[in-house]
Point group: C2
Chain length 388, copies 2
C-alpha cells in the first residue's frame, strides 16, 4: 500500500520516523540474567526491532516497530554476494539516577550516512534515524534494561543492507534498514587487560584509497583471520599496522591510543590521524580527544599524528611508555597491557592499582560518568521510556 | 535429525553430495523468453536450488535440492554485518550438439575453498561441491536451457555465507552453502565494445596484504562507487590501477589483457601477474593464457607481468597498441575499444570487421568452441540431464 501511494505521489519518499507503525509482540520473552545474557553463541535481542524498506522508485516505506524475528531475503540479494552492507554500533545506558541515556547519537547517524554512500546504499536522514533509535529504546528499554541494572547497557545495531535480488554488481535498487538491540559482553575489564598482537605483513586491514574509514561489512570479515591468529597465540586482538614503517592504526575494531613521554620530556596522548582515511572516526575516539583537550591539557599534549610500532618499542626501551588503551563503543576504554610485535614483547604499565594507567582511568571515568548520569552533560541525552 | 545423528557420531560431518535429498517443486514456473530473461531488476532463477548448512559442532547437514525461494536469516547473522561471504560464478552451456556442458569447474571449486578460508568460513570439499553443481544442472538444465537454445548459457552461483546470529566479530560458527542458477545478460558484444575509465586516485580496488585475489563479497560492493562514476561518463567499467605507477590490474570484475608490439618489435599478449595477490586468478584468464601458449606462441609472446597505464599510452602513441580485452566468466571475452585515463583518450583497434582484434577473436573462438561443444576438449565436461 505504501509503495502504491508513494508511486502515485511521484517523488521517492524520504525516511520519516513520524510514520512509525507500532506492532507489539504478543509473545514477549523473559529478560535473561545478566550473568548469562552474553554467554551463548547467539546475541539475545529485545522483544522488538525497527525495520524500513527502500527502493529507488518509491523511496522509503513507513518504518515499522515489530516483533524481533528473522528476515526474509532472496538468495540473489545483493548483500549476500557483494557486501553491500554497513552498520552502526551504539549503546543505551541505564544511569545510576535511574534514567536511560544515549551518547552522541548524532555522530553515529551521520557516520551511517557516510558509510551508506561509500557502499552505494541509499541516503538515510540522520535525524530520522536518531528518532527511530529513540523509539526502539523507548519501547524496550524499561523491560530489558531495568532500573535495577544501573551501570549496565544494551547495544544497538542500526544496519543497512542492499536487498535487490539481482546478481549484477551494481548500486542496489532496493535496501532495508533495521535497528536491533541486544546484550553484548562487557569487555573493558578483560582479565589480564588487553593483549595485542601486531598484524603480520601479509594481512593489511585497510589502505589509502580503500574504505577503512567507513563502517562497512567489508572491513570486518576479512580481519578475522588475523584475530584468529592472535587468539591462538593468547592475544585478544590485532594491532593493525600500515605501511613500511608500521604505523599503528587500529586495535581490533577499536581506535588505539598511547600515552608516553616524548624524547623532549613532554607527556603526550597520541592516536592515529583521520586524514588518510585509514581508520574509523570513532565516537569514543573523538570524545576521548575532546575531553582530554578540555580537562587534561595542563598535564599532557593531545596529538593526532602517525606513529609507528618502532616508536612504541623505543619508548618502552627508554622507560618512556606510560599507558595504552583501545577506545570504541563496543569495548569502551580497555587498557592495553602487552603488545607483541615480531620478536619484541612490550609490557605496558598498568598503574598503581594494576587496573589502568592514570590518564586512561581519568578518561574512562569522565566518559562513564557522562554515560551513566553521574554528571549531567550535553553528550548524553535522556530517552523517555514508554511503560506498557 | 541430521544434527542429532552427527552429534552422536562425534566428529563434524564433511559435506557429502551423495546424501543429497531431492524435494521437487510442485509449482514449476514458466521459462522466460530469452529476449526478456535479463531485462528486469531481478535475476530469474530456475525452479530449484541446492542448500546445505554447517555448524562447527555437527559439521555439514545433508544437502538438499529444493524449490527456489527466499532464505530466512536472523537480523544478527554474521553475513549481514561483517561480509562473511564468498561465492563462485560459472556457467552451464547448451552446446550446438545438444549437450549441456560445464567448463573447468574444478578451478571454481578450488577457488571457493580458498575464498572461504580467507573470510574465515568453513572448508568446502571441492569434489562434493562439483557434484552438487552437476546435480542442480542435471535437474533444471533440460527445461531452463532447452536444446532449442544452442549457444546459450545459464549462470551458476555457489554462495557461502556466515549465518551465526551473533554480533561479535569472529569466525562464524554456523554457515550456509547454496547454489542457484539463473539468467545473466550476454555482454561479450557490448554495443560500441567495452569502454573503460581508469580508477580515480582515491578509489583503490585491492592492495598488497588485502583480499583482491579471493572471490569474497568485500571486493565487490566497495567497487560500485567507481563503476557508477564510470557509467555517468559513458563508460562500461573501471580499469583498476594500482600503486604510484598505475599498474593495470582488473577491468570491472574481469581480468584485463593487452596485445601490443613491444619496443623490440615483438608481439606480446600481456596480463597482470598473480604473485602479489592483487587480482583474481580467473578461470577464463588462466584458460586464455594456456590456449594462447599452446596455439599462438608462434605469433606472439605470452607474458604475465606488471604493466602500467603509461605503457599503454606510449604504445598507443607509437601505433604499437593492437588489441585489448577483458576476460571473465560472467562477461566472457569482451573486446575493449576505448580507455580513458585522466586527460588521455586511448582508442584501441577493433580489427578489420570492427568486432575485435585478431588475437582476441581467436582466443574467444577457441574457448567458445570448447564450451559449446563444437570441438571435444577435456576442459568441457558433459552433464547428464535428468528428464522428469
Amino acid at each position: 500500500m505504501t509503495s502504491l501511494s508513494n508511486a502515485q505521489n511521484g517523488a521517492p519518499q524520504p525516511l520519516n520516523a513520524s510514520k512509525l507503525i507500532y506492532t507489539f509482540t504478543d509473545s514477549p520473552r523473559d529478560v535473561p540474567d545478566p550473568a548469562i545474557a552474553c554467554t551463548g553463541k547467539e546475541t539475545i535481542c529485545t522483544d522488538h526491532m525497527i525495520l524500513a524498506t527502500w527502493n529507488a522508485h518509491t523511496g522509503w516505506s513507513a518504518p515499522e516497530l515489530k516483533p524481533y524475528g528473522p528476515l526474509t531475503l532472496m538468495p540473489t540479494a545483493s548483500c549476500l554476494h557483494y557486501a553491500t552492507e554497513c552498520f552502526e554500533g551504539l549503546k543505551a545506558y541505564r544511569g545510576y539516577d535511574g534514567k536511560l541515556r544515549v551518547f552522541r547519537t548524532e555522530h553515529n547517524a551521520a557516520r551511517l550516512q557516510m558509510s551508506a554512500n561509500r557502499i552505494s546504499l541509499p541516503f538515510v536522514d540522520s535525524k530520522e534515524l536518531q528518532q527511530l533509535i529513540y523509539a526502539l529504546i523507548s519501547v524496550d528499554g524499561s523491560k530489558w534494561l531495568p532500573k535495577s541494572r544501573a551501570g549496565d547497557f544494551l547495544y544497538l545495531r542500526p544496519t543497512l543492507i542492499g536487498t535487490q535480488p539481482s546478481l549484477g554488481v551494481q548500486a542496489p535498487q532496493s535496501a532495508m534498514l533495521y535497528i536491533i538491540m541486544g546484550y553484548m559482553p562487557r569487555v573493558d575489564s578483560v582479565p589480564g587487560r588487553m593483549k595485542l598482537l601486531t598484524s603480520p605483513d601479509n594481512l593489511v586491514r585497510s589502505w589509502v584509497g580503500g574504505f577503512g574509514y567507513a563502517k562497512v561489512g567489508a572491513n570486518y570479515g576479512p580481519s578475522v583471520l588475523a584475530s584468529q591468529a592472535a587468539s591462538r597465540e593468547g592475544f585478544h586482538q590485532t594491532l593493525w599496522l600500515y605501511g613500511e614503517d608500521g604505523e599503528c592504526t587500529e586495535a581490533g575494531g577499536s581506535n588505539f591510543f598511547v600515552v608516553w613521554l616524548r624524547k623532549d620530556g613532554k607527556k603526550e596522548l597520541v592516536t592515529a590521524p583521520l586524514d588518510d582515511r585509514l581508520i574509523l572516526d570513532g565516537v569514543t575516539r573523538r570524545s576521548c580527544l575532546e575531553l582530554a583537550k578540555e580537562r587534561l591539557s595542563d598535564e599532557l599534549e593531545i596529538t593526532e599524528r602517525k606513529f609507528t610500532i618502532n616508536e612504541i618499542i623505543d619508548a618502552a626501551a627508554d622507560g618512556r611508555l606510560l599507558e595504552s588503551f583501545s577506545a570504541g563503543t563496543a569495548w569502551f576504554i580497555t587498557p592495553v597491557s602487552h603488545i607483541r610485535h615480531r620478536e619484541h614483547d612490550i609490557k605496558i604499565p598498568m598503574g598503581v592499582h594494576g587496573e589502568s594507567g592514570e590518564v586512561t582511568g581519568k578518561i574512562k571515568g569522565f566518559l562513564s560518568n557522562i554515560m551513566y548520569g553521574r554528571v549531567q552533560h550535553p553528550w548524553a541525552a535522556v530517552v523517555p521510556e514508554r511503560t506498557t
